[in-house]
């Protein structure tokens, strides 16, 4: 995973709430067995509308998605994160995320940042008025900055450290193999196994 520390880019105002992962990437794209190449599926149905925000030339190349509340609800498909990343997004800002989406994003290095709804509205208006506005997502300082505005955000220390170091979760857990083995030794024997009986 790539390290994430500070990223400065331009924003895409996605003025929609309840953007479920079926909209981020429709099920038909989930049949692939690879981890990359999902950019064409990103918002596939909505992108057919020429007026859709991603089709507007002033937002071409912008890589910070600014979404309404309840972004990434629904299906657990991590393909939603892969599609956003393949398209070029580095961060998503929203007042509220679906839990599984946010987990998936933070596992894969796509920074999902929770901002107050009023601030998201303000940022939408600002970016729509001036799409060239540079926006900085600073994981080190835990804040989003644009113009004179500084918006602190919460992220737990552990996830922040892991993202800043670009560390693989599995590798970290396997350092504690002794603990896993000890747990397995004291696990009740009547717990079921999937071995055909």
């Amino acid at each position: 995973m790539e390290r994430f520390t500070v990223h400065t880019g331009r924003g895409v105002p996605l003025r929609r709430s309840n953007v479920d992962t079926d909209q981020i990437i429709p099920a038909v794209y989930l049949k692939r067995v690879t981890r990359t190449g999902f950019a064409d599926g990103l918002f596939a149905a909505w992108r057919q509308d020429p007026a859709f925000v991603l089709n507007q030339p002033q937002y071409a190349g912008a890589d910070i998605l600014i979404a309404g509340p309840d972004f990434g609800t629904g299906s657990s498909r991590e393909h939603a994160v892969w599609a956003l990343q393949d398209y070029g997004f580095k961060a998503v800002l929203s007042p509220r995320f679906g839990d599984i989406f946010r987990n998936n994003a933070l596992k894969g290095g796509l920074l999902a940042v929770v901002l107050p709804e009023a601030e998201v509205e303000r940022l939408w208006a600002h970016v729509e008025a001036d799409p060239t506005t540079p926006i900085t997502v600073d994981l080190v300082e835990r804040e989003v900055r644009y113009g004179e505005v500084r918006l602190p955000f919460d992220i737990d220390d552990y996830t922040r450290w892991r993202l800043m170091e670009g560390l693989d979760d599995i590798g970290l857990t396997l350092r504690h193999l002794d603990d896993i083995e000890a747990f397995e030794r004291r696990r009740p024997s009547w717990k079921p196994t999937t071995v055909a009986g």
Binding site: R15, R16, S17, N18, D20, D22, Q23, P26, A27, V28, L30, K31, R32, V33, T34, R35, A45, G68, P69, D70, T73, G74, S75, S76, R77, E78, V81, R96, F97, G98, D99, I100, N103, N104, K107, G108, E117, D156, D157, Y158, D169, I170, L172, T173, L174, H176, D179, I180, F183, E184, R187, P188, S189, W190, K191, P192, T193, T194, V195, G197
Partner: protein, 479 residues
């Protein structure tokens, strides 16, 4: 994170919730400033969210730590007719074949298409007796919350986490907050657990449970069968929650006893002792509490494009201009445009061309019995296509033993083999653009059942009544 309220809540001496108890039982490692490392008792795997995880294992030279705690099935991509033939869509076929290769390579038990125990992952776990109280259960599928009906801590995960569980049988997790949803009173006739959960989501919204585990309780919940409890827990994710749970009781134990993977003999007694210790303590503290009165509920249907956009069938399509919240108003306007509905239209006046009865929400034997009780001796309305899709091959077998398939066929419905079917557009069962369904599934998102398709979520009883009249209806509307 520092000393949180949830950490305090989990301490001995303070009343603990069921989720607290199960969580504490599964902590492999706890360290300051880190998520708890939780042991996973059962990992369910399907073809869609696993291929990249197995690739990750190969890339890093890792093995599956506990194939004996892992079970795989084919469900999302499989066709529900002609299952003795190879899958026609080459991309779907490749995904299913990839799962077969991965399971063979890593030594994982797989129930492939056509197998007697094949079915939707959340239907087969309980049916095999693998889903038991007090367990931690994960799957790369958001509807893993279904298994919480047994008093298990069960939640959906992404593919990176699937790989993590395959490699380590653990997951680093922060403990979510707890929400109690208390449903008191008695459900009126014709009102089901599907209506409870649709009413709850309409009340608290699709983000209402975000960051929480919901525990459903109260007399209306305790009186439900296991199948009905699974329907409620299944849609916890549609309320935004990580998981949904119901305390295990005699209904739970009776369902489990004698199932292939349930403990037996002395082990059964040991298990029972543990299971009986699981329900939340009387003085357990929840972060949030919501109350519903079962007696005031009626059949619910959705009118919009998220599961929170629902209303009693007796109502009308709402007028977005009356919504005070600007974001909800905009969402409702968009939804009505997509759904091609006018404000003020009675919900009963909405005509459908498709009815889908099935899915991990409502594809179990009881759901099929409920639908059959309405369709017995009746005919499907002209121009309406009705798909009845059992959640598993075992459900299919049981339904056929009870003659339900004959009832469905005689009414003019199609009787299919097991799979996710029309719940999501990954297999041949899909809506065409502009088609409208009454569906017992869980999501009415834009395009969920096929590009351009329009979905109204309903209970099996409402689905069956709608099949007969051709417009959204309750059984009480039938003569």
């Amino acid at each position: 994170m520092g000393e949180t309220e949830t950490a305090v809540r989990g301490r001995a001496g303070v009343g603990r919730t069921m989720a607290d108890k199960i969580w504490e039982e599964h902590v492999v490692r706890r360290a300051d400033g880190e998520p708890d490392l939780l042991y996973i008792d059962l990992h369910l795997v399907h073809e869609v969210t696993s291929p990249q995880a197995f690739d990750g294992l190969r890339l890093n030279g890792r093995r599956v730590r506990r194939p004996d705690l892992t079970l795989a099935t084919e469900d999302h991509n499989v066709p529900t007719v002609g299952i003795d033939q190879p899958i026609a869509d080459p991309v779907s076929r490749t995904q299913v074949e990839t799962l077969r290769r991965n399971c063979a390579e890593f030594g994982i038990r797989l129930h492939p298409m056509g197998d007697r125990n094949q079915g939707i992952v959340h239907v087969i776990g309980p049916q095999l007796g693998l889903t038991q109280p007090g367990m931690t259960i994960v799957c790369g599928d958001s509807h893993t919350s279904t298994h919480g009906a047994f008093g298990a801590l069960a939640f959906g995960i992404g593919t990176s986490e699937v790989e993590h569980v395959l490699a380590t049988q653990t997951l680093p997790q922060y403990k979510p907050k707890m929400m109690a949803v208390t449903v008191n009173g008695t459900l009126p006739p014709g009102v089901t657990s599907k209506d409870i959960i649709l009413a709850l989501i309409a009340k608290i919204g699709t983000g209402g449970g975000q960051g929480h585990i919901i525990e459903y309780r109260g007399e209306a919940i305790a009186s439900l069968s296991m199948e009905a409890r699974m329907t409620i827990c299944n849609m916890s994710i549609e309320a935004g929650a990580r998981a949904g749970m119901i305390a295990p009781d005699d209904t739970t134990f009776a369902y489990l006893e004698g199932r292939p993977h349930a403990p037996s003999g002395r082990a059964w007694e040991q298990a029972l002792d543990y299971w009986r210790s699981l329900p939340s303590d009387p003085d357990a503290v929840f972060d949030e509490e919501v109350f519903l009165d079962a007696g005031s509920l009626s059949p619910y249907v959705t009118w919009g494009t998220n599961p929170g956009q629902g209303a009693p069938l007796d109502g009308v399509v709402p007028d977005p201009s009356t919504f005070s919240d600007p974001i909800e108003r905009a969402a409702a306007e968009r939804a009505l445009q997509y759904m091609d509905l006018q404000p003020g239209t009675p919900l009963r006046a909405i005509r459908v061309d498709t009815v889908f009865i099935g899915s991990c929400t409502n594809g179990r034997i009881e759901d099929l019995r409920a639908a059959a009780s309405i369709l017995r001796g009746r005919k499907v309305a002209d121009g309406v296509r009705v798909l009845v899709v059992p959640g598993s091959m075992a459900v299919k077998e049981q339904a056929e033993a009870e003659g339900l398939d004959e009832i469905f066929r005689a009414a003019g419905a199609e009787w299919r083999s097991a799979g996710c079917s029309m719940c999501l557009g990954m297999n041949p069962d899909q809506l065409a653009p502009g088609q409208r369904s009454a569906s017992t599934s869980n999501r009415n998102f834009e395009g969920r059942q096929g590009k351009g398709g329009r979905t109204h979520l309903v209970s099996p009883l409402v689905a069956a009544a709608t099949a007969v009249t051709g417009h959204l209806s309750a059984p009480s509307d039938l003569t």
